[in-house]
């Protein structure tokens, strides 16, 4: 391991490099731009390619293409750019293309406040594209976790053949922190399964028992087909209910069946509490400080921090919620994650604390919000 003092955005870039990413396409947007800026210098040194395209639509489509060419690929953007990427994100879902999209959230809607932070893309990243699907979404709260979760994002993308979202925000992006970077071999790096059958027996969308089809790369002698229509195991268009159900259920279930390894939470003061704060990303840091302030004044508060926003394991959330008298969902938006917590807990216990701040929320604002209900 190598210790460094880097920003959250650089940590994402370094995490992608550690995971084996060698193609990045993007269109600059604050507060995500310095990911591309940094990679533009770093990637060519190790045989990778960075390309700036004319917009976010072209960028993500290039990433889909590069992934099919056999290269681990990524793009990074913010809310407005992510909106443009949604169509191709659906393409990546149905074509089962491993890739990582970084969304560094800023205040919206639309162009909003470009340089200021937000957590308002929680719904967009999970549900923005049309059709039925589940995309894994990871949300770091520090530069170290930005690094670690980027590696995890690639490992999940490759092992499940799915797009994965890394959901950061403007605070994490420009936070400089001590980060341990791994040398090759020090962390697990997963690469996609290749077909083991001879080319004439290969069916590009025929899954193994793990619901994931081995992925052949163009130019390796296999017949490869990238089909956005509902298709069968051969990749041929089908419009019957059986093929439709087979494909969509498999695409959803290959993610949902891994919820145990995908869903990660961290509890602070989780052994003894009466009030539970639930939060994620940069806001969780303020929530932890708030829980400490509350505990100092004798109020038994704890924090449950979600590292994964999709898929959610409601049983895990329920376990923590059941122990609490009241649950405060602290997020820097108008209240989005709170709907999921409401599904996990008894409804009358859940209180939404939507902070809607342009800066990282101050702990005292959270403390005041909690105290009102005590």
């Amino acid at each position: 391991m190598r210790k460094s003092f880097i920003s959250g955005n650089i940590a994402i870039a370094e995490g992608a490099i550690t995971a084996g990413m060698r193609f990045f396409a993007g269109y600059p947007i604050t507060p995500a731009s310095d990911i591309m800026e940094y990679l533009a210098e770093r990637l060519p040194e190790i045989g990778g390619v960075v390309t700036q395209f004319e917009d976010e639509i072209a960028s993500i489509n290039a990433v889909v293409g590069a992934s099919w060419a056999g290269v681990k690929s990524m793009t990074a953007t913010s809310g407005p750019g992510f909106s443009l990427m949604l169509e191709a994100l659906g393409l990546a879902v149905i074509t089962e293309t491993p890739l990582v999209v970084v969304d560094v959230m800023r205040a919206g809607p639309s162009t909003g406040v470009p340089t200021k932070t937000s957590q308002s893309d929680v719904m967009q990243v999970r549900y923005g594209a049309h059709g039925d699907y589940v995309i894994p979404v990871f949300a770091p709260w520090s530069a170290q976790e930005a690094y670690d979760l980027t590696i995890k994002a690639f490992n999940v993308a490759e092992s499940l053949r799915t797009p994965v979202i890394l959901l950061s925000d403007a605070v994490i992006a420009h936070l400089w922190e001590s980060v341990l970077l791994a040398e090759p071999g020090e962390v697990e790096v997963i690469n996609r399964k290749k077909p083991s059958s001879p080319p004439d027996e290969y069916l590009p969308y025929k899954p193994d028992n793990d619901l994931v089809p081995p992925m052949a790369t163009f130019g390796e002698g296999y017949n490869v087909i990238v089909e956005s229509l509902i298709h069968d195991e051969r990749g041929f268009y089908r419009q019957d209910r059986e093929a439709y159900r087979n494909l969509v259920k498999r695409i959803v279930n290959k993610v949902l069946s891994r919820v145990d390894s995908l869903f990660e939470v961290e509890a602070y003061y989780g052994d003894d509490y009466k009030y539970l704060l639930v939060s994620f990303g940069s806001t969780a840091r303020s929530a932890l400080a708030a829980a400490r302030i509350l505990r100092k004044s004798g109020i038994k508060a704890s924090l449950l921090r979600l590292k994964t926003l999709s898929p959610l394991k409601l049983e895990t959330l329920r376990k923590y919620c059941d122990e609490a008298e009241k649950i405060f969902v602290v997020e820097n938006n108008m209240g989005k994650l709170v709907h999921d917590v409401e599904r996990a807990a008894e409804n009358d216990k859940v209180i939404s604390l939507p902070l809607l701040d342009l800066e990282i929320p101050e702990p005292k604002d959270i403390v005041e919000g909690v105290r009102k209900w005590l």
């Binding site: 922190e177 400080a289 702990p363």
Partner: protein, 177 residues
Amino acid sequence: MKIEILLVGRGGQGILLLGRVLGVAMSKYANLYVTGVESYASETRGGESRVDLIVSDKSEEMDYVKVLNADIALFMYPYNLVKYSEVLKRDAYVFINSTFVKEHPYTTQKVFMRPYNEVAEKVAGTSRVANMVALGHIIAKTGVQKAEYVEKALKEIISENLYDVNVKALRAGLELD
């Protein structure tokens, strides 16, 4: 041990660089957990540049990323001095660049006022390294970090042809009373 450091100046005074050097010295060489937040303005248009550094020897002490109770503060330019008194500990070390700041509202804190620009001009021939004079002064008076680690961090961050002039300024700061 948790230390909160607030660094404030005008765009172009090298506040961000100062924060970066101190951050690298403390995280990479002194092996502490460090969080730094930057907010900045441009040199040509002016405006406030600010770095919040939170330092601890325990990772679990790291939470909120901005300074709420500064142990150490530096003001290179007279921006919001009264407002900042709300986030200074009663006995905080406060360093003030008297080249630009002529008076201050701090009554209980340990205040050091020195003309960092003039010192820089005198020892290094340019006031552009006034930030390093201030950094030297801070570490000498507070002991927050070893000069050796700061010099290592400088070497890592600053381009080779500018290293000498920066180290000269840093060392001059170390000697300030």
